[in-house]
Symmetry: C2
Subunit: 331 residues, 2 copies
């Protein structure tokens, strides 16, 4: 059987990253690492949905500028978000005169965009692209759970959707390469609790990591970090426990973007952060800069997405999830 | 400036197509060409959303079987639909043990999937993939406009969402190649009428076709057909008129999937068909078989999508649209 891991012989480099966040993220452990912060989370817009689009637009423009490029030098933008019909991305992109590919993978979309962008670069379909994702606590709560005005009590397993947008410029310049890709499968283990995305997503992360280590010559120890985004506390514990049962021990080098972005106790973030923007801003502000500095050398980034629809859950369906894997390597 | 048209030097072939539709589509002009019909549109499921997933699942499995392949021989499935969080695809794919890339481009998703799949094949990222999309009249009406039970009067410009799913196997076997790709831009000309998707989408089709003919050595006459999907009557008229004003005359060879699938007068379909499934089933049952038979030789397929969100429209935003182009060639 063919190896499902895609090895890129002409790997793209990450030429620039850019992160834009809201006030809670700026107050968290990574607070001084973000490129841009909006103190009232509104980004000078009238609705939360427009605020999210503005945030994504700023991240895209920031990444283009940080890479020292002009908009006309970008071949393609790959973008997605959590909102119905991906309007966070659609409205951001309707302000930019560039070709656009819309992706949907819930919180795995950041990894999915990097994966597809890397494959297109590898095959010389494009020379430079931008991969961007966003999420906004207020637009997500309204859409997926309760209106903020309701003031509902959050359960301990619930994650706090990150208000943030991250963008990555892929091209020939840079020190961090994307060398391997493994696309995820939609895995449904019967979870129906819309406030426990960690439990819904963990089985898909297990499937992807298990397939990776079954088909790779590398063991988990090879990697400085195995970064999931965003399983939160519940999902991370499930992932580490069940993978150990499968003979894959990632306890020493696993981190989760949802656990990095907030101080769970001090910031009342329950099981941690989540959202398309969470892994995007953590990768953009912390993990990739640490690869660039040489503090890290090899990182597996596993974007984990709960393909959750309130309508389907109300109809009695459970929540499938998907996890896409990207291997980042310095030098 | 670099040519934005992507020419595939290692183009994939369409190894098989498969179309599954509901009763109204089966009563239309293409009624005897579909692979599978469900007379009550429910596909033995309890909800319209589940019916849509089942329809997409049948299309994917049908395409794999028609291509003479086993599921284990498929490297990747690229799929999308109109439903919030793309649940039509997510639930279909959670029944299939294969890697999955989720796409969102509204009704342009069929062309987007063929475009991305072709680029990945061209770059030897994969040997075989399935591109699939679906839409369902009943799940779409509920989500985008009114519950069916309300029995609202439809405006003359409104399109009828096709109940249908189409799937395409791309690989090395077949007589029809995908030779060129042009990714669309998100174009917003200020349309706010959620019952006039044709007017919202036409400007993006104009942008894509104008950019194609500005950068291609081919003139419109080179093509046996220029197929849009799905502008309907309103959008098709706008497209032909405004493109003519730009010096591009497609009046002789333009057809629209939304105008092909229903008998507008006899079937009370107003401005014609629409939906992710419309262009998918028309391409699968009619256009591609006619390329295979040699009745057609070169076809431009322009998938047109209105990136419409009811929430954004209620908030006063207008409707951006996007059109992705695929050049199909026999032999």
């Amino acid at each position: 059987m063919k190896n499902p891991i895609i090895t890129l012989l002409n790997p793209p480099k990450i030429s620039a990253t850019y992160s834009v966040v809201g006030h809670k993220e700026a107050e968290g452990p990574l607070g001084n690492l973000f490129n841009e912060v909006c103190d009232n989370d509104k980004f000078e817009k009238e609705t939360w949905e427009q605020a999210e689009s503005e945030m994504q637009l700023r991240a895209i423009k920031g990444a283009i500028k940080s890479a020292g490029l002009q908009e006309t030098e970008i071949d393609l933008i790959l973008a997605g978000d959590l909102l119905n019909q991906c309007v966070g991305s659609n409205y951001a992109l309707s302000s930019i005169d560039l070709p656009f590919v819309g992706l949907y993978g819930a919180c795995s979309t950041c990894a999915l965009g990097l994966a597809i962008g890397s494959c297109l670069y590898n095959g010389k379909i494009l020379d430079t692209c931008i991969c961007a994702t966003s999420s906004h606590f207020c637009s997500s709560e309204r859409q997926f759970r309760f209106p903020l005005e309701y003031g509902g009590q959050r359960t301990p397993t619930s994650q706090w959707t990150t208000t943030g947008a991250g963008a990555f410029a892929l091209g020939k310049e840079g020190t961090v390469k994307i060398t391997e890709i493994l696309f995820g499968k939609a895995i449904d283990k019967g979870i129906t609790d819309i406030s426990n995305m960690g439990a819904a997503m963990a089985p898909s992360a297990i499937d992807t990591l298990k397939r990776y280590f079954q088909n790779s010559s590398h063991s988990p120890d090879y990697f400085d970090l195995i970064v999931t985004g965003d399983l939160g506390y519940e999902g991370s514990e499930i992932l580490k426990d069940l993978l150990l049962g499968e003979g894959v021990d990632i306890r020493k080098n696993h981190v989760d973007c949802g656990l990095m972005i907030f101080d769970r106790e001090g910031q009342d973030a329950h099981a941690g952060g989540s959202g398309c923007g969470c892994s995007a801003v953590v990768m953009a502000c912390d993990i990739i800069p640490n690869l660039e500095k040489g503090i890290l050398k090899d990182v597996l980034f596993v974007g984990t997405g709960a393909l959750m629809s309130p309508i389907s859950v109300f109809q009695g369906s459970s929540i499938p999830a998907i996890s896409h894997l990207v291997h980042l390597s310095r030098g």
